[in-house]
Subunit: 157 residues, 2 copies
Amino acid sequence: MTHKAKLDGEDLYLDDLQVGQRFATGSHVISESEIKAFAAQFDPQPFHLDDEAAKRSIFGGLAASGWHTAAITMRLLVESEPRIAGGLIGVHGHISWLRPTRPSDVLTVESEVIEVTPSPGKPDRGHVTMRSNTRNQRGEVVQLMSFKLLAKRRSPK
Amino acid sequence: MTHKAKLDGEDLYLDDLQVGQRFATGSHVISESEIKAFAAQFDPQPFHLDDEAAKRSIFGGLAASGWHTAAITMRLLVESEPRIAGGLIGVHGHISWLRPTRPSDVLTVESEVIEVTPSPGKPDRGHVTMRSNTRNQRGEVVQLMSFKLLAKRRSPK
């Protein structure tokens, strides 16, 4: 079950995070013009830019760049509660694109804490690994991410 | 040693790719205004948007969003020779951010083929796994990626 964090509106420290906690974001409607503008700047391939070329491609129609889906996912995560103290700072992780993101898709992200690791050497920090599923309006997962993030620890009392 | 592909200017099919082949891209100079514009749209955290806040953060100064570095890497890959037949279409992969990307950094990407896998069931396609290092003007690796891409096979004669 997805629930709001206990500390609603407050920053979460490593000490507040537990395996199995889940968080949901708001939503973003991706427009055709956004898809083409992102592609023109960062991923200028025909199936992200041109409807006719996209129909003839493996995507069978205009599809957003996977990096665009990833960037929108980041935006949704950054804007949603709860906030990780110190910010969302990724170290490394894995990303899969399972389905194309299409014009007018409504994207939302659901995340789950899958690992919490205090730093053995640095008592003020650690890492949290989050798995984030980005879904469209039909509930289909378009992107799976699993990333290790920095997280601050609370100062010892 | 990094070398140009044998088939300069032609599309590469799975059949043309071998483990150990290396490819280099052109370069991109990332400006402070680009860093802030990308962050405002996709990763609005203080250390990507505001110089003073960035100085007080773990980055110690303005840093590009990791997703911005990834998007520029994609642009450099898409624009460089050789081209993979059918386009650069990622399925899944791993990404690590090793160092911040800073204003005025000059980014280049070097890629190496690390696996070539014909599809067991579909004779017209397969996968190629490429490792791509994104470096700054001092040769420091800012981002490591390893992604599995779709690749077409040549039609049987």
